[in-house]
């Protein structure tokens, strides 16, 4: 018998793959079915947004922000407008801030529903995917009532929001929220106590807290490892200090803890929305500013808590009508760096569960 050679082989989990949630290429070296090395390759969705916005004025940039990360556009718009308003010293009126928080928390629920549906379908459970889309339909109809668009909203403006909510918006939102907790209980009935789901997610892809900090992992991914850090509580931007809500923190840092953190976050967002719908003041929705927006010279950086983590915008201005440099610090870009470390030694089916639980989104990685 000739000598049997044992060698590693490389599998290309290519840019087109249903489980990578977008265009993300992973070159996986394997020894049998066990992974020895994962090498991500990005750049397939690079649209050079940071270069394009250097040639646009500040209001023209807002539609680009929608497309930077289309599942949580409201957060990205707010994250861009926040440093510009801070540099100009503009404070939006209270009603505008409440409207912004309402839109952002609705968007958080919508983004987590997409995440849950795709995570479940990657592991083989088809029904939660359809149920998540049913709930999301109600949220997208609410967005359409306000700004006319279901996905890329172009709703926030420097100094406030574009237009006020129509009659019947708050009633429709309250009706949606009254059934949301029960619907989330239905999803948990399918997934949380399911033995197949537990086998595939408990103990898989454990992120240790100090490694997470070193890499820059944030959001539910780091809260699942036990670090209690939520920018809505520590920085208290916009009107978040006026609401009462808890921040779910996990223990082990595995895929199951990341899943349960996000499910609990959906319930907490519903709590914020019920409070906001009762407390929203009446008044103006936009501060009066000159049509020509020119921040003074300087640099600033602010960050907010987006559904995926710590989203920040670094803004360098030279005093003109166009930004000199806008840098977007996206959470998925930093979270991707930890993927090779936590998936070596596991099987390729576990890699699918890990990518799903980290909630990576390629448009955010490549910008």
């Amino acid at each position: 018998m000739t000598d049997i050679k044992i060698q590693e082989f490389m599998v290309n989990m290519g840019p087109q793959h249903p489980s990578t949630h977008g265009v993300l290429k992973l070159i996986i070296s394997m020894d049998g079915e066990v992974i020895t090395k994962v090498d991500p390759e990005i750049g397939f969705l690079h649209r050079s947004i940071e270069k394009i916005v250097e040639n646009r004025n500040f209001t023209q940039i807002i539609p680009f922000m929608d497309r930077l990360e289309y599942l949580s556009s409201m957060f990205i718009e707010y994250a861009y407008i926040h440093p510009v308003e801070k540099m100009m010293g503009v404070t939006p009126p209270p009603r505008a801030e409440y409207l912004r928080v309402i839109m952002m928390e609705l968007n958080r629920i919508a983004s987590h529903l997409v995440w849950m549906g795709t995570f479940a379908i990657d592991l083989g459970a088809f029904s939660p995917f359809l149920y998540a889309w049913r709930e999301r339909e109600a949220i997208l109809e609410l967005f359409e009532m306000v700004c006319g668009a279901r996905m890329t909203f172009n709703y926030f403006r420097i100094g406030g929001v574009k237009q006020d909510i129509p009659e019947g918006f708050l009633e429709k939102m309250d009706k949606f929220l009254s059934t949301l907790n029960q619907k989330i209980d239905e999803y948990e009935a399918i997934l949380t106590k399911n033995s197949i789901f537990i086998e595939r997610t408990k103990g898989i892809g454990i992120i240790k807290p100090d490694r997470a900090l070193n890499f820059g992992v944030s959001g539910p991914n780091i809260r699942a490892s036990g670090i209690d850090w939520d920018l809505r509580k520590t920085d208290g931007y916009s009107v978040y200090p006026e609401f009462e809500f808890d921040v779910p923190v996990g223990k082990n840092g595995d895929c199951f803890d990341r899943y349960s953190c996000r499910i609990k976050e959906m319930r907490e967002s519903a709590r914020i929305l019920t409070q906001a719908s009762k407390k929203i003041p009446s008044g103006e929705i936009r501060t009066k500013l000159s049509p020509v927006i020119k921040p003074p010279q300087g640099e600033t950086y602010t960050h907010i808590e987006s559904p995926r983590g710590d989203f920040g915008v670094f803004f360098a201005s030279d005093g003109s009508q166009k930004p000199y440099r806008l840098k977007f610090r996206t959470p998925s870009f930093s979270t991707l760096m930890i993927l090779p470390e936590i998936s070596t030694g596991l099987k390729i089916a576990d890699l699918v569960a890990i990518i799903g639980s980290l909630d990576l989104l390629p448009p955010e990685i490549d910008r």
Partner: protein
Amino acid sequence: MENIVLSLKNKFSNNVEVESADNSIYLQTSSENVFLIASYLKENKLAPYFSFLTAVDYPEKIDLIYYLHDIDRNISFKIKTSVEKISPKIKSISAIYNGANYHEREVFDLFGVIFENHQDLRRIVTPDDFKGYPLRKDFTNEDLVVMK
């Protein structure tokens, strides 16, 4: 926070300017000292969270800006330095903060700054055979059309 500012001022007395405002500490220095500051912050557990690293292109220099964060005390550190335009290079901190890996590759790709001792410095968002450094202000390419 005052004792952190004082300890930084004592350790790096001449080479680094330290200022603080709100919850932020700003450090301005030349490019040789960035590695020392980063190792000092990491060893004394002053800034365990690596946020990001970026660059800004000016006509006569390229500014590099590092943001690090201390979650427990809610203090952020901003390190600002600059490198020259012709053959810019600086020592990499990806051995201290692993989160600097892709950020340094991105600054290399888009601005052309070489990070010495980086384990795998190659282009990240543009194709491998791309010529030029796109985010520099003087970047031109026959395919580039600037929309006014």
